[in-house]
Symmetry: C2
Subunit: 339 residues, 2 copies
């Protein structure tokens, strides 16, 4: 097959396509990319930053390959109160696995979970939490674990909002992720939460694919089951992606320093510092939970998502602090976020 | 500004653009995407696989998000004989650092390196290698380390070819990477080599950005130097991305199972098995070094890049095995690969 196209048709086509492109750009200028954010300083700081680093030839221009954004998950992209969602999952798994572990009836902290004894559970502290996570996140293959998480997320509901956890994601942050991606940022989640747990829902919920989800990891081991390879999850912590672990995780999993980072707690302090310390234009943001009516209000004294030192540093250094009550018109998506 | 475009101009434009797209596709059909590969079974197995998984509506179609390719580095993308390039770098670093370490004059394996005593160095075995890597890859910040690697790669030359190491990359594999990326594959390096060492050159040499380079990692620690954060490299192995570690690394760093994997040694066996064990169309490939004249010929008895069990498995299971001498028309790029 030979193709012929007249010079005139080609010129008309070129011109028409050029005009359509301009028309589309014009149209975009009129669309608010962050409709759930109230107009004001916070919203403007985001829009200005994106405009500065994407302006070709401008003093703050950053080439697309270096437009790395790292964003925390618990309390930054979805609700973390009254308990981290992954911990709720782990408590449900203790109940589901109890018939296979009769010894748990008389062994703490499992006994406390099974008896709903919150006081003893709290008293078991971090050691107890680690034991519960280890017992419920190991002894199965990665494929089986992913299926269990997916099944749980499809039915478990938040005690206050009575909605699926994957529906309790923040609409303003979804718009922020879209704005960043539309401007050739690569958006990464960098969270203290379990990497494999988050990867089950991050693509559907946030549009962040598995390879862009950085989190805490447990050790796995390559094993052969009936001549078929599996990765077994071992009861051993491999890496904790929290606090000073966040820059370590960013270096390990991403290998660039971010130019944009968003968090909500003291566990994000070092990630924001690491981002701020790079050369050129930088954006550091914190979500401050100030809205007890629509979500939660907590900061310096909270057991979950404590925000104290990072808030002081943000104020001192002029980082962007979102006042949830005033800066966010909407909290959750109106339609179900997951099909 | 209001834009008007006549319906006729729009239709002409649409038609013309449609015709141009077809014309371009026609053109592409005539271009050989793998010109450095000899025509034959091996080349055809690659082209057929890419065609099958990208054919919309076909039985083997794979959506772009799942088109994950994992490719080894040493001996698969660049020369690994007579010594792994990173080990040559480490030996040079021992010499450069010797004035600051007078004790090395009388401490093995450092004394052997400084005296060029290959016999003692070889006798120090894996323990000796680990000591040399630890001593030369720690005690500095990640930023400083990257600069040292970049400076070394810009000047160090291969003893036989007298060319920069980054020029001794395989032209056929560069074409393969391009073919995969043109078909919406995401190409990852998955290597036993040091992740930070490879990230310094992988983007320039192969077009693989840092976040798609998976390798062995050393521990790092977040530290404050004069109120400025750095990541210090510690003399501690964090993760060995080799053998059964490769599926572990793929799961940890990528979070998808690849549909395409290429290696060249027994260290790639488990990566190929893990790839093969997934559902749907799969491609497993090995580079067999059979060309002593243009590169090297080695396999079952080699100390570097030993290929024994993986070769048997590849033959038994019908994986693609590249016979370098016959399947590759060219080995190295003709022009310098790095500017």
């Amino acid at each position: 097959m030979t193709l012929r196209i007249s010079r005139r048709a080609f010129l008309v086509a070129t011109l028409a396509v050029g005009l359509l492109t301009v028309a589309s750009a014009q149209g975009q200028r009129g669309i608010d990319p962050l409709p759930s954010w109230s107009d004001g300083k916070v919203k403007q700081s985001i829009i200005d930053f994106v405009a500065r680093v994407t302006k070709a030839g401008g003093p703050d221009y950053v080439k697309p390959a270096e437009r790395i954004a790292t964003i925390d998950n618990d309390g930054t992209l979805w609700v973390e109160q009254p308990l981290y969602t992954q911990f709720v999952f782990a408590l449900d798994r203790v109940k589901a696995l109890a018939p296979k572990h009769p010894e748990w009836k008389t062994t703490q902290p499992f006994q406390a979970v099974l008896e709903g004894d919150t006081k003893t559970l709290e008293a078991s502290g971090e050691k107890g939490i680690v034991e519960i996570i280890a017992a419920t996140h190991s002894g199965i293959s990665t494929d089986d674990f992913n299926k269990i998480v997916a099944d749980w997320l499809a039915t478990a509901k938040h005690p206050r909002f009575n909605r699926l956890y994957t529906d309790l994601i923040y609409q303003p942050m979804l718009e922020l992720l879209s704005l960043l991606r539309a401007n050739d940022f690569k958006t990464f989640i960098v969270s203290g939460g379990g990497q494999e747990f988050m990867r089950v829902f991050a693509d559907k919920a946030y549009g962040v694919p598995p390879e862009q989800v950085v989190g805490s990891t447990g050790a796995t081991q390559y094993q052969m089951w009936d001549a078929s390879p599996v990765l077994m999850k071992l009861p051993k912590v491999d890496f904790v992606d929290d606090g000073p672990g966040k820059p370590v995780g960013i270096n390990k999993f991403i290998g660039h320093r971010p130019i944009f980072a968003f968090g909500n707690s003291d566990g994000d302090k070092e990630m924001l510092e690491w981002t701020a310390a790079g050369r050129g234009a930088r954006f550091m943001g914190l979500v401050h939970h100030t809205d007890a009516a629509r979500e939660y209000a907590y900061d310096r004294d909270s057991k979950v998502g404590k925000l104290d030192k990072a808030l002081d540093e943000a104020v001192a250094k002029g980082w962007t602090v979102v006042d949830m009550k005033n800066d966010w018109k909407t909290i959750f998506p109106k339609v179900k976020a997951t099909p």
